[in-house]
């Protein structure tokens, strides 16, 4: 290997570890606890009209059996430096969660006490994380650094007790849109799959029987082929987990100028654009409506994917979760662009200033995406990951002019 000049450094590495975690679990999870407050337990049993008596109810169901969830992390890869300028790092990783801690969804026949957190199931993530970077001088004045990174994901729910899935709590007016089911990625979107808009009465009558079916409304896919559209025809509509995410950072220095940029992208993920339930339908809420309705179905405009405009909210339009809201959430975003100029230091030293740098910084200057919501990069809770609930768009374009002075 001594003769190999192009290779400066090569390292092969691997690791395996199990980490116990009970982060989400309150220490009270093991106990059935009783309590209550004015609104949901106290009562004017004496019939005074102006006073209440204390009531106590079972607030939560205890689960003494809950134990750690095990995060099993394994990876294998190599790091190499070549030609003094290139660094390459590639690794395969696997992160499994055994005994994921999650509140057990219970039917109301068990009562209203909060469900205990249980070790509900196993989840597996696998993927490849690769990065390549270049760091070197092109000419004596021009320095270039490039670093790019790509991470692929494959996520799957491996084990869940009967019924083989669990749904997180939802606060959307048209019901839950997320299901975690064996064999599917975590947080997959679940609902009716739209295969078109009914063009006319003839199409309605020759299609599988569907509640509230009418020309201009959604035609759902008959998943089980029984010629009836029922809850059994709900299916998986996409997942918020990307196939891969990537980034590219480029830095340039030329004499007193410096330049850096940071691109970030996510590919292959879907998003559930829930606000369209309010902006695209009149039957859901009175308020401003989207311009997509300009292309709405009419008897003359039948070749469209926008349903007809009407005041009612039906099974065949806006009252159930369906694929109308599922959009391609892929994006590429220029997160940051900086151009700076540093004044010659020697000229400033006599007035006691070490260095002055003037710079222009732009954040989120552009985003390439097909997503029609405000921002494909969603915040929000992890249980509703990928569901846009009208989140505030935190990543708006902004520009900064800056001055750094060091004394």
């Amino acid at each position: 290997m001594k003769n190999v000049n192009w290779l400066n450094d090569l390292k092969i590495r691997g690791s395996y570890g199990i980490l116990g975690s009970d982060l989400n679990v309150s220490p009270q999870n093991a106990f059935s606890l009783y309590g209550g407050n004015f609104g949901n337990a106290y009562y004017d049993l004496a019939g005074t009209g102006n006073s209440i008596m204390q009531g106590i109810y079972r607030i939560n169901i205890g689960n003494p059996q809950a134990s750690w969830e095990q995060d099993i992390v394994a990876n294998f890869g190599f790091d190499a430096t070549m030609f003094n300028k290139f660094t390459v790092s590639i690794e395969y990783y696997q992160k499994s969660i055994d005994g994921l801690l999650f509140p057990l969804p219970l039917p109301y026949t068990a009562g209203g006490a909060s469900s205990p957190i249980v070790n509900i199931g196993n989840i597996k993530n696998t993927g490849v994380d690769a990065s390549i970077s270049y760091n070197g001088n092109i000419t004596s004045d021009l320095h270039l650094s490039v670093r790019s990174n790509i991470t692929t994901y494959h996520n799957e729910v491996v084990k869940v007790p009967d019924p083989g899935y669990f749904d997180p709590p939802s606060n959307l007016s048209f019901g839950n849109v997320v299901r975690n089911q064996i064999g599917h990625p975590v947080s997959s979107f679940f609902g009716y799959d739209i295969i078109g808009i009914f063009k006319d009465d003839a199409e309605v009558s020759k299609s599988p029987t569907q509640d509230e079916a009418a020309p201009g409304r959604f035609k759902y896919r008959d998943v089980n082929g029984d010629n009836l559209i029922t809850p059994a025809d709900r299916t998986f509509l996409g997942s918020p987990n990307p196939d891969f995410t990537y980034s590219l950072n480029i830095g340039l220095r030329f004499k007193n100028f410096d330049f850096s940029s940071m691109f970030y992208g996510s590919q292959g993920n879907s998003l559930f654009n829930a606000p369209r339930n309010l902006t695209d339908f009149f039957g859901t809420y009175v308020g401003g409506k989207s311009t997509v309705l300009l292309n709405a179905w009419t008897p003359q405009n039948t070749d469209t994917n926008i349903p007809k405009i009407e005041g009612t909210s039906t099974f065949s339009t806006s009252s159930v979760p369906n694929s109308y809201y599922v959009e391609n959430g892929s994006y590429l975003r220029l997160r940051s662009l900086i151009l700076g100029y540093t004044l010659n230091p020697s000229a400033l030293q006599h007035i006691g200033i070490g260095k002055i740098r003037i710079y222009l910084q732009g954040a989120n200057l552009f985003t390439i995406t097909k997503y029609s919501g405000l921002d494909p990069e969603l915040g929000g809770s992890s249980a509703q990951f990928g569901v846009d609930q009208g989140n505030y768009p935190n990543n708006q374009a902004s520009a900064i002019i800056g001055l750094n002075v060091s004394f």
Partner: protein
């Protein structure tokens, strides 16, 4: 040396303390702070506290966030879904309720889920009491106390499951054996559960005392009355007849007052005069100005607060044109126009601004109308002449009328209203009233007894309504309604008794007359949908009534009831509601759901 001994002593003591503490097993066991664990409740006080929390859901509001879709007064499921009322407020506001009213609500409707949650949480809270009692040592509670607490809990379970049975008919029956710990909480809905609810009320009736220390507790007569109600829903008239007679002759309230029709019909909707009066068989106790901001005062009804006038939000639940028309009476006999009431509309102020002149309808009307419906030109309690348009949130959507039974009196504002919108009141929600019992008795007499007895019962109700002292009167001073009322009726009230029509016109007429009387007596009280359901019993009676109603309301001139376009009540489907899909999804046992959807959903 002295120092050493000193040190030794301290460390020895420390060691002993640690050692002795360490010897106790409990050293590592910390009790959760700020909560109560079950063993603390193993006594009478504990059981009673659990029982109070089971009572507290009689308002239908289990959540801290006021839950407007599960109220026990059933303004949505019994009122808006029937020919009593429209959803009201504005178009698109409350889309789930629009679906229910237009019979488009399917299993995914979230409002139905809220109702399901509330009734099953109520039933399980009652079961928690029974389960706790089984664990209380004998010396911590007297036998009598344990018996009363258990019987009250069984009664409450029956009340909650009655709600479930009215809504969905084919529902899981959940008694104290159904629990998380037993793992049997997925319960099938293999058919109606009236028999099991009957058993609960029979048990409660046999074990509860006739009177109670507190007005809000259920006594044996409340249990008997609920049992009668179940018989009515289960069409067991021969069982109902002797029971109803017993209740009418001997029944007393929990405080020992003999059941009676109070002189003034409107007292029943007065937060003070109506509270646990002689007509109250069993009620949800409402409390305001108790330091909670109205959380115990009709908390689940906050949406139906008036949009303007006594409260400032939200204007849901507006009486229908058909309901108002039902109060028209014959100018000569004062009897209702049972088959022709909807031939023309009582004059209304659709599209007439409050600033424009309007004279109210001058034809003969049942005086109960203005205790049931707020309308333009008529005194609205002691709040002033109802101004019509300006008190209505969106006339085009809800129509020109307001609810009034759930409002409070201006003079009593300080003690009977609460909440930032003043939509919370201390008006009790009477789940069974004595006039209810009397009209059930009338129904039973029509079916299996004597028509003249039925007429006598109906006339009791009508005679009370004919008490002129209780008719709405004009104000002494329209600009200051608190100055009181004159002796001049505010409208052309005319009500008469049946003379011999029940016998002379026969059973078919008598049946319709009793049913119509219930519509008038209980207008805007959330019973109507379930009465129609009871009377339907597979005949299509309900579909005919509701479809005729939709036909009428959608053709009222200048009223454009948008979301009802194309709405139809489907016979064999819409008499009961869809079982919430999330509950079916969760009911999977051995790979298949054991909760089955109701027919045709």
């Amino acid at each position: 040396m002295k120092n050493f001994i000193h040190k030794l002593n301290i460390s020895t003591v420390l060691f002993l303390v640690l050692f002795s503490e360490g010897c106790k097993k409990s050293y590592l066991e910390k009790k959760p702070l700020g909560y109560v664990t079950q063993t603390v409740l193993y006594n009478k006080e504990g059981a009673d506290a659990l029982l109070i929390a089971a009572y507290s859901l009689l308002d239908g509001s289990p959540n801290n966030t006021q839950n407007a879709w599960s109220s026990m007064n059933n303004w949505i499921y019994g009122g808006v879904a029937s020919d009593d009322a429209h959803k009201g407020t504005e178009y698109g506001n409350g889309p789930g309720i629009e679906q229910i009213e237009s019979f488009r609500a399917d299993a995914s409707n979230r409002d139905l889920l809220a109702k399901w949650e509330a009734v099953y949480e109520g039933a399980q809270r009652a079961n928690d009491v029974i389960r706790l009692l089984a664990n209380i040592p004998e010396n911590s509670i007297s036998k009598d106390d344990a018996q009363q607490i258990k019987a009250e809990a069984v009664f409450l379970r029956g009340v909650y499951l009655t709600e479930a049975a009215k809504m969905w008919k084919n529902v899981p029956y959940v008694d104290e054996s159904i629990d998380f710990a037993s793992g049997n909480y997925n319960v099938p809905n293999s058919g109606p559960i009236w028999d099991k609810i009957e058993e609960d009320f029979k048990y409660a009736a046999a074990n509860l005392t006739d009177t109670k220390g507190e007005a809000g507790r259920a006594n044996s007569w409340a249990a008997k009355s609920f049992l009668a109600k179940i018989y009515m829903f289960d069409h067991k008239f021969s069982e109902a007849q002797p029971l109803l007679n017993d209740i009418i002759l001997n029944g007393v309230t929990s405080l020992g007052r003999k059941y009676a029709l109070v002189n003034n019909y409107s007292d029943n909707f007065d937060a003070i005069k109506g509270k646990n009066n002689a007509e109250t068989v069993f009620a949800t106790q409402m409390s305001v100005q108790d330091g909670t901001g109205g959380e115990n005062g009709n908390a689940a009804d906050w949406l139906i607060g008036m949009y303007a006038g006594p409260s400032t939000c939200c204007g849901y639940y507006q009486p229908s044109f058909s309901l108002v028309n039902s109060f028209k009476t014959d100018a000569v006999t004062g009897l209702p126009l049972i088959s022709t009431f909807n031939d023309f509309d009582v004059k209304n102020d659709m599209n007439i601004k409050s600033t424009e002149p309007f004279t109210a309808y001058e034809g003969p009307l049942d005086p109960r109308l203005d205790h049931t419906v707020g309308r333009r030109g008529i005194p609205y309690r002691d709040w002033g002449i109802h101004p019509g348009y300006s008190w209505i949130r969106q006339q085009a959507c809800g129509g020109p009328y307001s609810q009034i039974k759930n409002a409070y009196n201006q003079a009593d504002e300080a003690t009977t209203s609460d909440g930032s919108n003043k939509a919370q009141t201390s008006n009790n929600l009477v789940l069974i009233r004595f006039d209810d019992v009397i009209l059930w008795a009338a129904e039973v007499e029509v079916e299996i007894g004597s028509l003249s007895n039925a007429q006598e019962y109906v006339n009791l109700i009508r005679a009370r309504a004919a008490n002129e002292n209780d008719w709405v009167k004009t104000y002494v001073d329209n600009s200051d309604p608190l100055k009181g009322f004159t002796n001049i009726p505010a409208a052309n009230y005319k009500i008469g008794l049946y003379t011999n029509e029940f016998e002379s016109k026969g059973q078919e007429f008598a049946r319709e007359a009793v049913r119509f009387e219930r519509k008038l007596e209980f207008g805007m009280e959330g019973h109507r949908f379930f009465d129609l359901q009871r009377w339907d019993n597979g005949t299509g009676y309900m579909a005919d009534a509701i479809n005729a109603y939709i036909q009428h309301e959608t053709s009222v001139p200048s009223y454009n009831w948008l979301y009802m376009n194309g709405a139809t009540f489907v016979k064999g489907k819409n008499e009961i509601y869809a079982i919430p899909l999330t509950q079916i999804d969760l009911s999977v046992v051995d790979g298949a759901p054991i909760l089955h959807q109701n027919p045709n959903y």
